[in-house]
Symmetry: C2
Subunit: 314 residues, 2 copies
């Protein structure tokens, strides 16, 4: 079983409006709600692949109750907190998608300790742990580091997908895989932010591989960076690869990173060789982009895009 | 005690963002929640004036629980429904206020009957009833008409503030006061929509009084129309008046109409003569405009603006 941890779980709300006009009142015709947060999205992708998965994390209030209810068939075991889980509202009109991300509930020290104990118990039945997303207010910056140390102490491998200081502190604790995006990779490796957003693929590849090497620094943590349309670069103890989609895809990029993390977790669980693991990640990401609802994928798209992925050792 | 009815109660959520940019993701710094819906706003104004008030209506789900909790000291007795109460989200940046109104929960037939029975019991302890705002999905278009007939059968006077078909059906049931805005007045009287939005005050007054007369049609229902910066016109069995603020006010017009309704309900409860009642309504509306939080007012602003109101028989 793969355990996904979502400390700042969210209720994702989508509002359909004919056209977003700042300064006006919009009567929302369609309201769609579903549970979210990066770890929950990873769990949804794995569940869709019929992979045994358990979603855990922190939830509270009416929003938390809605998250639990809407998880439906996705197995979950969240710890209750007094605060109210955040909502992430997305306003969709014909031409644009506009997001409003609440910061999340304040988590108390005892609530955090209660979660750590719950997590330690769940580790005993987990093959892999996925730690994803932002920390809610009140959690220590080394929250992921502590969860990684606990997993390592019982030899459960860890995938970390975070940002900012919690990511830096988490990487120092030695997860098995860390999945930064281009922006996070640039910051962690000390390169100029934005270096990966322009230029040809070759330039991106050379820079990204150098940055991933710098972050790995010869250590145990494999660095797999997601570069949007340029695919993934991986710097690992077994070698370096660049995995690219066969063609540019247009669609909804939200959730593509979470789909890649699902493939990396699956690969860790079954010791899938790196080239195939990266092709799986490119295929799942691409299938997520093609699907209008983040985190759900078509098996047909996945199979086709995985086969078409271009994986080269560099 | 004044009874306010809010069939489509809401959780009003305000998001503070530096600048609203369609197509982008906004990390919301400040989230503020409070109970809303027009009847709840009327109750808040009356409570602020130390007037005994009870808020009723329908609430459900986590949003409904939050509405109840956040009502705080405002007395309330809502009926539970299985659906989830709506949220109305307002995004505020430095220069604009953008609203997203959810439609509200589906209400079943038995839930509606349960509310009607609860309302009939509350009527026995009410001096005046205020019926305000939209109907949630599932309620019959004659919902307000039925509540008005019940109030009339036990001689409790009614103020109605609604729109569209529920307003038209409600007016036919003979409330004591109906408070359309300019748009609703135009539609009900058969005049061109927009007739009250341009032109000099004198023109607005003549047209608005004629329209209010047409809606009243010699019947028992006093028609008090709110015309934004042009104040209120009233067509009643006792005469016709135009009540105007002494000067144009800049601020937040949200809730100004609800403040006027609070004054009209108070006036019915204590049989306040029409000119004073309309001055109260202009003063409370103006005080609401000057306050950044809809539905809360400063007693000082209220006293000053009430004294300064210009009320003329026409």
């Amino acid at each position: 079983m793969i355990l996904t941890v979502t400390l700042n779980a969210a209720l994702d709300v989508t509002y359909q409006v004919p056209r977003l006009r700042p300064g006006e009142v919009h009567r929302v015709a369609g309201v769609h709600e579903r549970p979210g947060g990066k770890g929950v999205n990873v769990a949804r992708v794995l569940h869709g692949l019929n992979e045994p998965v358990l979603a855990t994390g922190l939830v509270g209030g009416g929003t938390g109750a809605a998250i639990r209810t809407l998880l439906g068939e996705i197995r979950h075991s969240f710890v209750d907190i007094a605060g109210i889980s955040r909502r992430t509202t997305v306003v969709v009109d014909g031409s644009s998608t506009t997001g409003f991300w609440e910061p999340g509930p304040e988590v108390s020290g005892p609530e955090w300790e209660s979660f750590v104990a719950h997590y330690a118990a769940l580790l005993r039945i987990s093959r892999v742990v996925v730690l994803s997303g932002s920390l809610p207010p009140g959690l220590p910056v080394d929250a992921y580091a502590r969860l990684i140390e606990l997993a390592r102490s019982v030899e459960v491998p860890v995938v970390l997908d975070a940002s900012g200081e919690p990511l830096a502190a988490g990487v120092a604790a030695g997860p098995d895989i860390v999945k930064p995006n281009a922006h996070e990779l640039a910051i962690m490796s000390g390169m100029a932010v934005g270096a990966f957003e322009a230029g040809a693929v070759e330039l991106v590849e050379a820079e990204a591989v150098a940055a991933a090497d710098a972050v790995r620094d010869g250590g145990r943590t494999a660095v797999v960076a997601s570069l949007g349309p340029h695919g993934l670069v991986a710097s690992t103890g077994d070698g370096r690869w660049h995995a690219r989609p066969a063609a540019a895809l247009t669609g909804n990029p939200t959730g593509a990173g979470d789909a890649a993390v699902a493939a990396l977790a699956f690969g860790l669980a079954y010791r899938v060789p790196w080239p195939q693991r990266l092709a799986d990640a490119v295929g799942l990401s691409g299938a997520a982009v093609l699907n209008p609802v983040a985190g759900t994928i078509s098996q047909t798209d996945y199979a086709r895009l995985r086969r078409a992925a271009d994986v080269r050792e560099v």
